[in-house]
């Protein structure tokens, strides 16, 4: 399997979050991404700082949800990917 690029990993992370309508806890999210802890933390911090995800406390536990901006990224992912490929960026 080819190594995933940065944008692909972000897309996969957001897709997992989108599938979980009631939010997802940190550890199951890490497990589902198939990334090492260090790499996961790096991408997790990035999507958090870009407001693609939000954190909510439910039953005394932190759960993560995709935001509208995160949804917008998923909508635009194919366009971004096509644009990069078209202009060899």
């Amino acid at each position: 399997m080819a190594k995933r690029g940065r944008l692909e990993i972000i897309r996969d992370l957001l897709l997992i979050l989108r599938e979980n309508h009631f939010g997802i806890k940190f550890t199951p999210l890490l497990r589902k991404t198939n990334l090492s802890s260090a790499r996961f933390s790096e991408y997790f911090e990035e999507i958090k700082s870009k407001d693609f995800i939000e954190e909510k406390i439910m039953e005394d536990q932190k759960r993560y949800f995709i935001t509208d901006k995160g949804q917008r990224f998923l909508e635009k992912y194919q366009t971004i990917s096509d644009f990069i490929s078209e202009f060899e960026l």
Binding site: K50, K69, K76, T79, E86, E88, L89
Partner: protein, 224 residues
């Protein structure tokens, strides 16, 4: 009716210059703004440099129209008179040189930044500044031209060699033509008499190249 001096300038080809610059600036800014959301969402460096390239093209053409205005207004044949008569004109020429070099460099960087890990950008800035200063110190248009043409030729040779494994495609041709006609525009700005009679063709081809890139961008970006 405007003042006689202004009317004389418009009849003397300045109107064409204004229209040409306006179209290129508009197209460049359309490329810059239509890719804004893609960059904001992705933070992808290639998109960042691609956008900056067209922002710098817009600024370079804006400065170029100012130079043309000064040359038409004072009926100057070439840039040597800038040094003798109008020092701010020389500063403008240095700015034009910097922005136009950086526009080309950003375009090259957008394609090659992964190969050089983004380190070439610092070199590009330094080279662009050196070129801009060379405009201030070497007043000879031929020296300025030689430096710029050699520079652009070396940058694009590096570009083609570094990506030769990918083979030729339409993008290489478009970028090649863009560099070629941008150099022609640069020469035309410094030595307007050199291309007298060919200017209209240079302008038409240049506009066609920019419109082709805009079309490719809008086709991908869509209505966003």
């Amino acid at each position: 009716m405007g003042p006689p001096m202004f009317e004389g300038m418009m009849g003397n080809g300045f109107g064409l210059e204004v229209l040409y610059s306006f179209v290129i600036i508009l197209v460049s800014l359309m490329i810059y703004f239509s890719t804004k959301e893609l960059y904001e969402l992705s933070s992808y460096k290639g998109i960042k440099y691609f956008r900056l390239s067209f922002l710098f093209f817009a600024i370079a053409y804006f400065v170029r129209s100012f130079i043309k205005f000064v040359m038409f207004y004072f009926s100057l044949g070439d840039v040597r008179s800038f040094h003798q008569d109008i020092f701010f004109g020389l500063i403008t020429l240095a700015l034009f040189s910097y922005f136009s070099s950086m526009a080309i460099f950003y375009l090259v960087e957008s394609v090659l930044y992964k190969k050089f890990n983004g380190k070439m950008l610092y070199v590009f800035h330094v080279v662009a500044i050196i070129i801009a200063f060379s405009v201030l110190f070497f007043i000879s248009p031929r020296v300025i031209l030689t430096i710029n043409v050699l520079l652009l030729a070396s940058v694009f040779t590096a570009y083609y060699f570094s990506r030769k494994e990918k083979g030729k495609n339409s993008l290489s041709v478009i970028y090649g033509l863009l560099a070629l006609f941008f150099t022609a525009n640069f020469i035309d700005t410094i030595l307007p008499d050199l291309f007298r009679g060919l200017q209209l063709w240079i302008y038409l081809v240049s506009i066609s190249i920019f419109l082709t890139i805009l079309y490719k961008v809008l086709r991908k970006v869509g209505a966003s």
